[in-house]
């Protein structure tokens, strides 16, 4: 009897393995091998042979040293990319949570509004986005994409943003917070465009909260504010990690570091340096993800 059971488990294990085999082959062949190759490239000088193929010359850490010490723009672009990411991720997370809360209620025209909010995901192409940015700046009265344009617009309409900034500084608000807020306001259109998928994930999370919890909260006499912090927020907490991983990877995908690595490889034909750049940025992204996710995971309440 016992023997039969083990053989059934084994049979199921083999079937399961067969289901993932194509993916496993692909992962080993294209991902794992590529990551190892990228590490190898970053330690070597790569020359493409005229007859096809390439040869590697081991040069140690010189690519890394060059990228950090001698390269003109790498360090600067890397730090601005990471800085942008660190600014954008919390903004996108909270903005999409806020929008999901608004969109979750039943109201007339909800389908249309949700459709509009998802539009940026559909039109998420380099060419379309580029043209949209031009159109945005040409639409007089619309939201412009850069903070200098906002400054111009506000000064023309008689509202001086500097005046308010000074006012808030005088009130004793730290300047970093002000810079953050004005930066956030001026990037609002970018943030809206980047949060389509996140909003939908949050709506789904909100809908998976059992109504009985709200009922209990209401009977116990909790206010809307308390209900949000004691019921809604803890229940969507586990999904914040998914959102952060998605947002970080998504924002890194079209950051300037990627462009720099791309041009270094295919315009300057410096494959080793390009691999170094991508590896360094990837390792930094992963470190940030691990830190942030570890931090959140500790504070997350899991219902099940």
């Amino acid at each position: 009897m016992k023997k039969k059971k083990t053989s059934l488990t084994r049979k199921r294990a083999i079937t399961g393995f067969l289901f993932i085999t194509p993916w496993l082959i692909g992962f080993l062949w294209f991902y794992l091998r590529s990551i190892i190759m990228a590490a190898q490239f970053s330690l070597s000088e790569l020359t493409v042979n005229p007859g096809g193929g390439y040869s590697l010359k081991f040069v140690g850490l010189s690519n890394y040293l060059y990228a950090f010490r001698a390269h003109g723009t790498f360090k600067q672009i890397l730090t601005t990319s990471i800085g942008d990411m660190l600014v954008d991720v919390p903004l996108i997370t909270f903005f999409s949570l806020f929008m999901a809360l608004l969109l979750n209620k039943k109201f007339k025209g909800r389908t249309i509004v949700r459709a509009i909010f998802f539009l940026p995901v559909i039109l998420n192409s380099e060419a379309i986005m580029g043209a949209m940015n031009i159109a945005r700046s040409l639409m007089v009265g619309g939201l412009s994409s850069s903070s200098t344009e906002i400054l111009e617009a506000t000064s023309n309409s008689g509202v001086s943003i500097d005046y308010y900034i000074q006012m808030f500084t005088a009130l004793g608000l730290p300047e970093t917070i002000l810079v953050y807020v004005t930066g956030a306001v001026s990037r609002i259109s970018d943030i809206i465009n980047a949060s389509g998928v996140q909003i939908v994930i949050f709506i789904a999370a909100l809908q998976s909260i059992s109504p009985s919890m709200y009922e209990v909260a209401r009977i116990e006499g909790a206010t809307t504010y308390e209900t949000f912090w004691k019921v809604t927020f803890p229940m969507v907490m586990p999904h914040i990690i998914t959102i952060i991983v998605y947002t970080v990877v998504d924002s890194f995908m079209d950051s300037d570091v990627v462009d720099l690595a791309y041009t270094t490889a295919f315009t300057e034909n410096n494959y080793g340096l390009s691999s170094t750049m991508s590896l360094v940025s990837t390792v930094i992204t992963c470190l940030i993800l691990i830190l942030v996710c570890g931090f959140i995971q500790k504070r997350t309440f899991y219902y099940n």
Binding site: G52, G53, S125, A135, R136, G142, A204, Q207, V245, C286
Partner: protein
């Protein structure tokens, strides 16, 4: 006025304020999203005179279809668009079948190192594609399977500038965002009740039959989500298309990048402001198929994403 009516009035006022706030925020943000699209559509009808008339805003005085005519001729519109739709559609089908299989395996079967392997799926989502772009480029520039091709023909094959690399990658579920799709499918299959499968087994269905005829049928919400994501992202993708030098005739979003310069050279138009109008028309042309797909499937899509197990 007793306290009861007073409280009714205050709650009524409060509700009204909340609704007003919601309407203002939603209308404002919808405008931010729709605004540029409207701008592009209206500018694509502008004539030269409209473009320089600063009184003209959104509604052209003398609308013209000239932009569309030249843009569609230069893009070779019907041919390119059907080519790219076919390309992304076929990749989408492979993507759905292969990723759902991997997801099913992870969700329903126990095998050694399962946790570690699922960690690899997460790794696929986290590692940005640009890290592996160079090795991938090299792999497909000198393509070979354990030296077999070299043994037969004497040299490895260069698969670049054909769509083959993309098909190979997608077949082994390593294509555009495959990690995310495997993750979605795994979460969804985990949520399905085991009884469905057990009933099928008791009735004597084979594993493959159960999977294709019963499990996939039940996974329709996630299948639709992945299908549309994959279709749209593939249609819009320029990263892999540029990396593997896929022909412009299969990737319309790549062709649009050179539209302005091609029109400028062929028709001797040197004014960048006018050339931009042609680009606008081209953008509208490549958006049309996406909008049609989106409007047709919009209802299934958004609700599908909600039920598709991204949230688990």
């Amino acid at each position: 006025m007793d306290s009861n009516t007073k409280s009714i009035i205050t709650t009524g006022f409060k509700n009204f304020m909340i609704t007003l706030f919601r309407v203002i925020v939603l209308v404002g943000i919808s405008y931010v999203i729709i605004g540029p699209v409207l701008g592009i559509v209206s500018r694509s009808f502008f004539s030269d005179a409209d473009n320089y008339n600063s009184m003209v805003y959104l509604i052209p005085q003398s609308p013209t279809l000239e932009r569309y005519k030249l843009a569609s001729e230069t893009l070779d519109y019907i041919k390119t668009v059907s080519g790219s739709l076919l390309y992304s559609l076929s990749l989408m089908v492979i993507q759905v079948v292969m990723c759902s299989m991997a997801g099913y395996g992870f969700a329903r079967y126990e095998f050694p190192f399962k946790k570690l392997l699922f960690g690899c799926v997460v790794l696929m989502i986290v590692v940005p594609t640009h890290t592996i772009m160079l090795p991938l480029y090299m792999t497909f520039a000198n393509f070979d399977v354990f030296g077999i091709i070299k043994m037969i023909t004497g040299s490895s094959v260069n698969l670049l500038s054909t769509p083959v690399p993309m098909y190979i990658l997608t077949f082994f579920s390593c294509g555009l965002r495959s990690g995310l799709y495997i993750y979605i499918f795994t979460q969804f299959f985990r949520g399905l009740p085991k009884e469905i499968e057990e009933a099928a087994y008791v009735d004597g269905a084979s594993t493959m039959y159960t999977y294709f005829r019963i499990m996939l049928r039940n996974a329709i919400p996630s299948v639709i989500t992945v299908a549309i994501f994959s279709m749209v992202w593939q249609y819009n993708d320029t990263f892999y298309a540029k990396l593997f030098l896929v022909s412009d005739n299969l990737v319309i979003s790549k062709k649009i990048a050179s539209l302005e310069s091609t029109i400028g050279n062929v028709y001797k138009i040197y004014d960048p402001n006018i050339l931009e109008l042609y680009l606008d028309a081209g953008i509208v042309l490549i958006m049309i198929p996406l909008i049609i797909i989106y409007v047709a499937l919009q209802k299934y899509f958004i609700e599908g994403v909600e039920r598709s197990g991204i949230v688990g």
